[in-house]
Amino acid sequence: MPDARNPDTPPRIGVYVCHCGTNIAGTVDVHALAEYAAKLPNAAVAREYKYMCSDPGQELIRQDIRDLNLNRVVVASCSPLMHEPTFRGALAKAGINAFFLQMVNIREHVSWVHTNKADATIKAKDLVRAAVRRVGLHKPLEKRRVEINPNVLVVGGGIAGIHAALTVANSGKHVHLVERQPTIGGHMAYFDKTFPTLDCAACILTPKMTAVGSHPNITLWTYAEIASVEGYVGNYKVKVRHKPRYIIEDLCIGCQECVEACVYKDGRWADEFNLGLSKRKPIYLPFPQAVPQKVLIDPEACIEFKSHKCKKTCVEACGERNAIDFHQRETIEEINVGSIILATGFKTFDAHRNAYYGYGVLPNVYTSLEVERLVNASGPTSGEIVLRDGTKPKMVGIIHCVGSRDHNTNRWCSKVCCMYSLKLAHLIRERIGAEVYNFYIDMRTPGKGYEEFYDRLLDEGVHFVRGRVAEVTDWPIHPSEEGKLIIRAEDTLAGFVRRIPVDMVVLSVGLEPQSDARDVRRMFNISCSEEGWFLERHPKLAPVSTFTDGVFIAGACQGPKDIPDSVAQAGAAAAEVLALADAKYVELEPYTAHVLEEACSGCKTCLTICPYTAISFIEETKKARVNEVLCKGCGTCVATCPSGSMEQNLFEDQEIFEEVEGLLAYA
């Protein structure tokens, strides 16, 4: 096998089989596997060990490299995506090139997915044999170092994005915070109180929002979206699309005299921030504590945009400040950052999708988010809990798990609904003394002080009925039900069906991925779970990292989360970003392509294929050349090159051929 292009010959290979406790040993005959490996050509030694990744395990390898002067190593254990770095480290420590390693995945791809020990062992043997043959061809490689741009992009101005931005900015790094809405604050800004401590959301959120607005190290882009992302870890080029507010942000001081002066004396258009429960004018400030304190104009509503015949009293009111600009256009600006934190959050379940709960048909059926506004002092009723007809409800039913734990809509538990339902139950009971019924499937209150809060609610005399509600109807079948909303559900603990008449129904809607989560995911080149939640690199050990270096996730975009968890993740993501930035440079995998100039025919096929324009054509030599910094190592050009004059490090044709033959070659 010794290959002309392979400097050191012949290969002396050590094969190491990991038991991974019983994870592998339980299904694969590790002993037979090691014995088999020992007999393979070029195998100098083969050992099995309980945990290869442990220190003694690695020491075992290092020892052999020194004592038996091995020049190649095969480790048969878990997925290379798990421990390749670990074992490469071991090789390097022992003084041979880290890339003289080949890992064999006999856990995720063998022991965990097969049951028959004989079959599993055969498969493991084939894989090991292939690796042994392949590794002999491995060449010494060095990782590439690239500088890291210390600037950071944070996408999403909810509590997670805000916290991440502040943490990073406080360390002296510059942050670009991009928010789609005209103000930051996210969902938390809608809330009145937060569970379980009941401290006022505004009181704890507003200071952080203003801090962001005034921070010297933060460039705040509101009413803006990401248009495109290019580059790689340490060097991302990001285009930001800035939507027109029709207000020149630098000139507006948020005095709102224009809003006062608007020709419409009172609001006529659904106020987004109050979820349509109140009306706003064509020119408006999203809400009193909005950051930035800049108004905006809704071109759909403003007369000037429709007829150009408006008196423009707003312009008068603005006076020589001249902040209003009806001709403002969308702008696209480019920023350079080294790393990115995605904190794009969630959206709530659309209650219309559950037809039997009558949302949108029965006026007194509300979503929990609407009720958050109703109980909020700055809300449409300034905190008064009243129905659409202005009366106070005497009986209120809160329906849990709307759009959660349901194969017909969303299968997952939304994690926060139980707690916020309790919070709303408490607020309603406290403010108007109504009888409150909670309809739940399971009460889920894990978390510091959560169960205690549940206890408190029981003391307050809130009713709990264990059963998923089948229907909300205004169709009475008993005199006591006339003119009420009737909630029909089985009281599963009592064992019979109950009909409970109420005045107000609150649908505790679940959390869903943002509707454009998949587009965002593509733009930033990360993965999504089947449901659409952003996928973390490892559920336990890399919860805020993604499979794309330099891109991190925080908050509910990764999965349903309450405020404390979101903030914790934001902190974690900030720490990751800072660690990256302070490292000054990053090491890139050396899987890049290169041209074998003697063979290159200069046909330029590769130039058109490369998505990163990393390949250029050198006129004088009439040959292609790969810019290794731009090359991301997909290898497409290699497979495309008609003259076979392209190679990809660690994925050379010969190496793969050898692996394929190895897999299939048995006597």
Binding site: A355, Y356, T473, W475, I477
Partner: protein
């Protein structure tokens, strides 16, 4: 347009009027119906509780025959409609059922292809014929006759093939096209009690009572049905079910209402067969009829 027609047992008994009106309406619309050759009982819901697979086999025989014919299969009876659909689903979903059914079909020398498209008259009239063609045929508009559209369970559940499962509207639209006024009827997809009236009378009666009350409170002057069993239950037990309200309301097949609007003579649409005479209300609403 041509369809293979699968009447099912009820349309030859208590549901005669359904068949009569259905055939009349399709004749009027110039849609050809060819009765399925030597069809047998679909097994309905009753056989299910006796022997599931045998009932699939029964349905499969009809499906095999129909598939051979090449045209879509039209089944007016809700029970048949469901039984046929369910069979097609389950022979796919459960290979062992598929095996048993195929084997049985082989034994009687039938092809095992049962993939024919099963349709309900509502589906055909609404989607294939279309509202415009219906409107074009209306000779005696129903002058705002207040109708409660009652779909019952089995044409929308468990499979919602041609209409919304929770709030179907195809019949509403068809009858509106004939000049009827559709009243709010939240119970439109609730169960009529099936055969309970016969087997557990008090239960069946309770169902009938609720459904009638629902329609009457909604101001309905008539209830339109799509299923012989629903029609029978709602019509036959009105007196027994009368409690707070005295029920005396005509229960017609939706095809009978179409027939009326098309100006088809009452007798040809089996309208003389209903227990509650419709002539008074026709007179009141000044709806002409032959």
């Amino acid at each position: 347009m041509k369809y293979t027609y699968y009447p099912g047992c009820s349309l030859r008994g208590t549901g005669r009027a359904y068949e009569e009106s259905l055939l009349a309406v399709f004749r009027e619309l110039g849609v050809e119906l060819e009765e399925l050759d030597d069809w047998n009982c679909c097994g309905a819901t009753t056989y299910m509780s006796y022997d599931e697979v045998q009932s699939y086999a029964l349905a499969a025989r009809n499906l095999a025959l129909a598939t051979k014919s090449g045209n879509d299969l039209m089944a007016p009876c809700a029970a048949c409609y469901l039984a046929l659909h369910k069979t097609q689903h389950y022979v796919r979903e459960y290979p062992w059922i598929g095996h048993m059914v195929e084997h049985a079909l082989n034994v009687i020398g039938y092809p095992t292809d049962i993939s024919v498209r099963v349709r309900h008259p509502l589906d055909v009239l609404f989607n294939d014929v279309g509202l415009d063609a219906i409107r074009a045929k209306v000779a005696h508009p129903l002058n705002g006759l207040k109708v409660a559209p009652y779909y019952g369970c089995q044409i929308v559940r468990p499979y919602s093939i041609f209409d919304d499962q929770r709030n179907p509207t195809s019949m509403d639209r068809l009858l509106e096209a004939c000049g009827a006024k559709i009243v709010q009827y939240p119970l439109k997809t609730q169960c009529c009690g099936g055969s309970q009236k016969g087997t557990l009378p008090e239960v069946g009666l309770d169902r009938v009572g609720r459904l009638l009350a629902g329609a009457v409170c909604g101001g309905a002057e008539m209830i339109a049905t799509v299923c012989p069993l629903c029609q029978f239950n709602l019509e036959a037990f009105q007196e027994e079910a009368s409690n707070a309200h005295q029920f005396h309301i005509p229960i017609l097949y939706f095809t009978q209402l179409l027939a009326l609007a098309f100006g088809i003579p009452l007798k040809e649409a089996g309208l003389q067969r209903s227990f509650v005479s419709i002539k008074p209300i026709l007179a009141e609403k000044e709806i002409a009829y032959a």
